[in-house]
C-alpha cells in the first residue's frame, strides 16, 4: 500500500516538469537532464542540471534548469535545496506559477516557501478602463511576496506621477484616479506603471506599460417630449346642441319684446317688416348653426396640462444644457495596458 502511494506521488510530481519540458530547450545538457527527470533518474538529473547551469544558457533555460533541480530535490526530500532552487527560478521568472493540482505537494510547498523568502512584485495587472476624468479610477493589482515599502509610479512623456506609497504585503489593490494635483487628467501618452518594493537593501520592481488617450465626453440631447407623456389637444369640439337656435330665439325675442313694449300708443303699431327680415335671418342662422358641427373651443384642462408639460421639458432641457456645459469641459480617459517589452527583475 505504501509502495503504491509512493508511485502515485512520483507520478504526480513528474506532471509539473513534464509540462514545462514541452518548452523548447536548446542546450543538450539540459535536454539530457530533462530526459533523466522523465526517467526518474534523480541523481543524474542533479548532476546534469548543475552541469548545464555551468554552461551558457538563456534566461528561460536557466530557470528551467533550476526548476528541474527544485522538483528533483523535492522528490529526494531535500527541501532546503529545493527551496533554494525555486528561489532562483522566481528571481529569473517572477511570474512563474505552479499549478497545485499538477505538482507534488512537497514541490509546491518548497516553491511557496521560496516565494516568501524572496522579495518580489508579481502579477502586476492594470485593467483596461474608460471613465470621465475625476469620476473614476484605474484599478491596479499586484502581489508583494514580503512585507516591504512599495512605491507605485506612472512614468511617461507627460511626467512622473506617484500613484501610491505604502507598506504592503501580499495582494495589493490600488485605484488610481489618473489626475494631476490640479485635478486635471494626466496628459495623454504612453506611460509605464512601475511598482518598486524595498526591504532593507533588497529592492524589486515590476513594470507594466499603458497607453492613456483622451476623448470628449458625449453630450446629452435635448428633450422634445417626456417618455409616457404626450401633448393633449388644446381645443375640443363640444357636443352638438340646440344652443345656437336657442340663442338666436333669445336675441330675436328680446328685440321683438323690446319693440312691442316700447311702441308709442299714439303712433300705433309700427312696421314689423324690418324685424322680420333681420330676426328671420338670425333664426335661420341659428338653425343652420345648430345643424353644423360646433366650433372647437379651448380645453382649459388640456391647456394647463400642456403648459405644465412644456415647463417640465424646458426645465429638463435647462438641466441638460448645464450638464452639457460641464461635460464639454470634461475629458474621457481611456487606459489600455500594452504588452511588456522586457518584464521585470531584481535590482
Amino acid at each position: 500500500m505504501i509502495r503504491h502511494l509512493c508511485v502515485l506521488a512520483l507520478l504526480v510530481s513528474v506532471g509539473g516538469p513534464a509540462v514545462a519540458g514541452a518548452q523548447a530547450v536548446q542546450n543538450a545538457t539540459l535536454r539530457r537532464a530533462q530526459q533523466a527527470y522523465d526517467n526518474l533518474e534523480y541523481r543524474q538529473v542533479v548532476s546534469l542540471a548543475q552541469a548545464a547551469l555551468r554552461e551558457r544558457l538563456t534566461g528561460p533555460e536557466r530557470a528551467r534548469a533550476y526548476e528541474l533541480l527544485g522538483f528533483t530535490y523535492g522528490a529526494l526530500d531535500s527541501i532546503l535545496k529545493a527551496v533554494d532552487a525555486f528561489k532562483q527560478v522566481v528571481l529569473i521568472d517572477p511570474e512563474r506559477q505552479l499549478d497545485p493540482n499538477r505538482v507534488s505537494p512537497k514541490a509546491y510547498s518548497a516553491f511557496d516557501v521560496a516565494l516568501r523568502q524572496v522579495l518580489l512584485v508579481r502579477q502586476l495587472r492594470v485593467d483596461s478602463t474608460t471613465f470621465v476624468g475625476g469620476r473614476g479610477a484605474v484599478p491596479i493589482r499586484f502581489t508583494v511576496t514580503q512585507p516591504a515599502r512599495v512605491v507605485t509610479r506612472a512614468i511617461g512623456g507627460g511626467g512622473s506621477f506617484v500613484i501610491d506609497s505604502g507598506a504592503w504585503n501580499g495582494q495589493v489593490n490600488l485605484s488610481w484616479p489618473a489626475r494631476l494635483a490640479s485635478g486635471d487628467p494626466i496628459p495623454a501618452g504612453t506611460y509605464t506603471v512601475v511598482v518598486e518594493a524595498r526591504l532593507g537593501q533588497n529592492t524589486f520592481s515590476a513594470a507594466q506599460p499603458i497607453r492613456v488617450s483622451h476623448g470628449s465626453v458625449d453630450t446629452l440631447q435635448s428633450l422634445t417630449s417626456l417618455p409616457g407623456y404626450q401633448y393633449l389637444p388644446e381645443t375640443e369640439v363640444p357636443p352638438q346642441s340646440w344652443r345656437p337656435l336657442g340663442l338666436a330665439f333669445l336675441y330675436t325675442g328680446g328685440a321683438l319684446v323690446g319693440t312691442l313694449g316700447l311702441e308709442s300708443s299714439s303712433l300705433g303699431s309700427s312696421s314689423k317688416r324690418e324685424l322680420a327680415v333681420v330676426g328671420g335671418a338670425a333664426l335661420v342662422t341659428g338653425f343652420v348653426m345648430t345643424l353644423r358641427k360646433p366650433a372647437p373651443r379651448p380645453a382649459a384642462a388640456n391647456i394647463l396640462y400642456n403648459r405644465l408639460l412644456r415647463d417640465q421639458i424646458a426645465r429638463r432641457n435647462q438641466d441638460i444644457a448645464k450638464e452639457n456645459v460641464a461635460r464639454r469641459q470634461q475629458v474621457q480617459l481611456t487606459l489600455v495596458p500594452l504588452p511588456k517589452p522586457g518584464g521585470a527583475g531584481p535590482r
Binding site: P244, A255, T259, S266, L267, E274, V278, M289
Partner: protein
C-alpha cells in the same frame, strides 16, 4: 359728421398700420329697409336705401359706424303728402366687460331733406350690448342705447328716448361676411308751439340693414 370725417375714419381703420396691430376690421355695403312715424299714427312713411358700415376691434375695444341714406315715402293711408330723404349716421365706441357683453357710447344724427318734412335729430348714445357666437363665425348681437340730450330741427325736447338693436354677422367664406341689423328707435319728443303748452310729438323709426362685408 361730415363726409370728409367719415372718409378719414374709414381710411384710418383700414390702413396697413392699423391692420398690422392685429386689428380686425370689416367694411361693406348694406341695403336698407325703413319705416318712420312721427307725431301721430297717420303720419307714416316707408322706404328703402343704401348704406355702408365699418367696424374694427382691437383687444377689448371696438368701434362701429354706419351710414344710411333712405328715401321715405308716405305709406298707403298716410296723412303725409310727400316723401323725404333721410341720411343717418351712427357711431359707437365699445369696451368689452365680458366675453359676451360690453358698454358703449356714441352718437346718432339723422338729417332730412327737405328740411322741415320731418325732424332732423341728433343725440348721444349711451348703452350696452350683448353678443354671442352661436356658431363658427356667426355672432348675434342685442343692443340697448339711451339717447341722451337729443336735439331736433323743429325744437322741443325728449325726456325718454331709446334705441334697440339686433345684429347678425356671419362669415360666409374667407374674408366675406354677411351682415344684418335691425334698429328700433323711439323718441318721446315734446314741443311747445307758440307757448301754448307742451304737446307730444313722438318719433318712431325702424330700420333693417342687410349687406355684405369684407374682413381685414
Amino acid at each position: 359728421m361730415s363726409r370728409a370725417a367719415a372718409g378719414v375714419a374709414l381710411l384710418v381703420l383700414t390702413s396697413p398700420a392699423v391692420l398690422a396691430q392685429r386689428v380686425a376690421v370689416t367694411v361693406g355695403p348694406q341695403f336698407v329697409l325703413a319705416s318712420y312715424r312721427e307725431v301721430a299714427a297717420g303720419l307714416r312713411y316707408q322706404g328703402t336705401g343704401f348704406g355702408g358700415a365699418v367696424s374694427a376691434r382691437y383687444r377689448k375695444f371696438s368701434v362701429e359706424a354706419d351710414v344710411v341714406r333712405l328715401t321715405l315715402d308716405p305709406t298707403t293711408g298716410s296723412a303725409a303728402t310727400s316723401g323725404f330723404t333721410a341720411t343717418e349716421v351712427s357711431a359707437w365706441v365699445a369696451y368689452d366687460l365680458a366675453t359676451y357683453a360690453s358698454v358703449e357710447a356714441g352718437f346718432v344724427r339723422r338729417t332730412v331733406d327737405p328740411e322741415f318734412d320731418a325732424q332732423s335729430v341728433g343725440a348721444v348714445r349711451i348703452g350696452a350690448r350683448s353678443f354671442y357666437e352661436i356658431g363658427p363665425g356667426a355672432t348675434v348681437l342685442f343692443r340697448a342705447n339711451y339717447l341722451a340730450a337729443p336735439k331736433f330741427s323743429g325744437g322741443g325736447h325728449a325726456a325718454f328716448s331709446i334705441d334697440l338693436g339686433l345684429g347678425l354677422d356671419v362669415r360666409l367664406a374667407g374674408r366675406l361676411h354677411g351682415t344684418a341689423g335691425y334698429t328700433f328707435q323711439r323718441i318721446n319728443r315734446k314741443t311747445n308751439p307758440g307757448g301754448t303748452g307742451e304737446i307730444d310729438a313722438p318719433i318712431q323709426a325702424t330700420v333693417a340693414r342687410v349687406g355684405l362685408a369684407v374682413g381685414f
